[in-house]
């Protein structure tokens, strides 16, 4: 894909555009070890941008580049320290003498199910993921989580049958798989958490009644006429409504309470 480079090279001025890093004059570089091999990179960059600075081009191991997709889990050590550290390559800043390895994929068992055939009973989860009880509560999962999710916390909540609590605790999970890579009991925590959240939302969290009512109205074609009129309206009249006839719901009234003066289109 040399051409892709050409586009970029042709148009990118010599400043830090987009995600391409530059080394400002006089800036310091630091050594990092990518899978054991030394590269000099500017300080303050993320691991991801530092590796790109060094000349790597990612196929795997980069997704959102914003800390939310879980494509870039990274394990590293620092020289002279026995400890293993875990992080997201797109969110962790390089430090001198880091030894880096990416784990873009880690195999984990995922059960197949039809959500509509399940229920809010924790037994459902136990049946799909019996390995849940292989958890020895070592907490390595939590230590590995780059999102600071209390992984052991939600696994324990599930063992106690508390799906709501597990759903709540696991909510920030980005499914990078680092927890599973560390698990002695070989649990696929993030898949179990996903199931718990879907069960919670479908079977335990109360349904939105106002939503169901709106859906019924739409299906009964209540708004078809109103929308058809809007569709046929010229800009002038639309503008008139936009400017003069839009009462703004007050900021601080709780949803469901405020009633506008004009109710003909509701």
């Amino acid at each position: 894909m040399a051409e892709a480079e050409n586009i970029q090279a042709k148009q990118a001025p010599k400043v830090a555009t987009g995600d391409r890093a530059i080394l400002p004059e006089g800036a310091k570089t630091i050594p990092v070890y990518v899978m054991g091999k030394r590269y000099e990179v500017p300080e303050t960059l993320t691991i991801m941008k530092a590796m790109e600075f060094a000349g790597f081009k990612f196929i795997r191991g980069a997704g959102c580049r914003g800390g939310i997709c879980g494509a870039c889990p990274t394990v590293y050590r620092k020289a002279g320290d026995y400890k293993l550290f875990f992080g997201l390559a797109c969110q962790t800043v390089v430090e001198p003498n880091m030894y880096l390895a990416q784990i873009p994929f880690y195999p984990a068992n995922r059960a197949t199910y039809k959500l509509e055939e399940l229920s809010g009973d924790p037994e459902v989860i136990y049946a799909l993921y019996p390995e849940l009880f292989r958890c020895v509560a070592c907490n390595l999962c939590t230590k590995a989580c780059p999102m600071d999710v209390d992984v052991l916390g939600y696994i324990s909540a599930l063992k106690q049958g508390n799906i709501a609590k597990a759903a709540e605790i696991s909510f920030d999970c980005i499914q990078c798989g680092l927890c599973a890579s560390r698990c002695m009991g070989e649990l696929p925590q993030y898949h179990i958490g996903q199931l718990a959240r879907r069960i919670y939302a479908k079977y335990i969290q109360p349904k939105a009644e106002h939503l169901q009512k709106r859906v019924d109205d739409i299906n009964a074609q209540k708004y078809d006429e109103v929308l058809k009129n809007l569709l046929a309206m010229d800009k002038e009249n639309l503008e008139k409504i936009y400017i003069n006839e839009r009462e703004r719901e007050p900021d601080l009234t709780p949803p469901g309470e405020w009633v506008p003066q004009d109710t003909q289109y509701l």
Binding site: I7, Q11, L45, Y223, P255, G256
Partner: protein
Amino acid sequence: MSYTPEMRELIKKVEATRPARVERARRNEHYPALNLKEREEVLNAYHPDCQKDGTRAVKVGSNKGDIFQDQVADLLESKALLRPDAVDLSTVDYEADVLIIGGGGAGTSAALMASDAGKSVIISTKLRHGDSNTIMAEGGIQAATQECDSPFYHYIDTIGGGHFTNQPDLVEAIAHDAPLSISWLENLGMMFNKTPEGRMVVRHFGGSSRKRLHSAGDMTGAEIMRVIRDEARSRQDSITVLEFTPAVELILDEDGKCAGAILFNMETREFYIAKAKAVILASGGFGRLHIKGFATTNHYGATMDGVVMAYRVGVGNKYLFSTQYHPTGVVYPEQNVGLLITEKVRGLGAHVLNIDGEQFCFPLEPRDVESAELICEAMDKGKGILTPTGRVGLWLDSPMIDDLHGEGTVKKELPAKFIQFARHGIDISKDPMLVYPTLHYQNGGVNVSASTETDVPGLFAAGEVIGGVHGENRLMGNSLQDIITFGRRAGVNAAEYIDGGVEIKKLTIDHVARFEKEIDEAGITDPVTAPIILPDYSTDEVISRRWAEK
């Protein structure tokens, strides 16, 4: 890296004006919003899209003569990745009823609906399933589900926000379908923010008359993507996902119907022929083109591939000259540059402030207006704050959210942002954030009807890749709605189209040669090759040493 002492000094000015500003906000007193004429003036003067340099007319294809940003024009006038004579169309490697290009929110919704209709589906996607712009969306998704709201107001807000340039049938479609989409997601087990009684918690956003933004923490897109992806994974009997295997060219049959695509295995560099009775383009946007050098919020694979492929089979586009700059991208710390600060922060009441700690705009103008006002304040009035690396920004006063709604609100409502900044030593419930506009959304895209059909039979399109829903300006929360509304419609309509009886004739990619001939005849001597697939961030230094590639 926490704020430097110099920046800390400036933050004091923000703190000094805060109590009075919070008082006014409590009384529901706002910095006055601009009227339509003032909006237009500030847009024309300061919005990057309205500036003439760095643009040109394209010389070929359906949009011949239209003006685009240079980077976009380059891709519309590009040559194919594959030499047509190197392609063997006689062996079909993958076959399904429906081929979906792009495994983001639109593509996955389409897959589920086509599968519901009993169709076999292949999703070709560039990275992993779900590595997309969808997963990054934080703020929320629009739908008129509350009693004080209705599809009428959703329509009016949307078309007004788009400066009345939206394609009306598309606006009608989303105003109509939005509550259905939310209900669909609720049924699939999506964890919306709800009150203990089950009422959806909704809020305002820039350009809204009613609170219409539904969310799931500040990970709304991630929650949507997780849920629909999980559902797709449970349907392996009907949905096959090919990861790291993007489409690079559409295939037609000799009658001119769309009949599949050429796929590319990025890891082995092999190409495959995928044949289908209907194709749905759902490949998302173009943030990674870094138009005019702006940083972007988009995921790694947002390189406009879908628009390029569609252009070569004769499907044109609209509003592609229009890019949305999100008013509040991160400027500091350096590691977070370009990342988005959701509009929800302003929806919750945070003010935007200049170096003196003073307000200079209504914080909830439509996004393009807001962006232009920030650029004006920093560049023209010189009231921006400079970072140690020479980037310029303005303050977004997040701590006042806690003052308005109670201690702990910032942490509770914006957990992901809170962690992201805490990692770098900044507590956004105590200190403001530094922000500046960043390249966020491809407003335009391929031409479709409200039933997601393009001009080529059998080719459907949905999501950020299409144009017209938002006109020249998108309101927050409408694109997540757009991908579910049109993703679902695309799945349903593709299935219906197939049920109408589709017989695929001999496969062809003659359109590629025809298009390249047109480029040649237009005198374009050095066309770039596209789709780009992934951006390249190698430094000039490294590129100059890749001697074998010159």
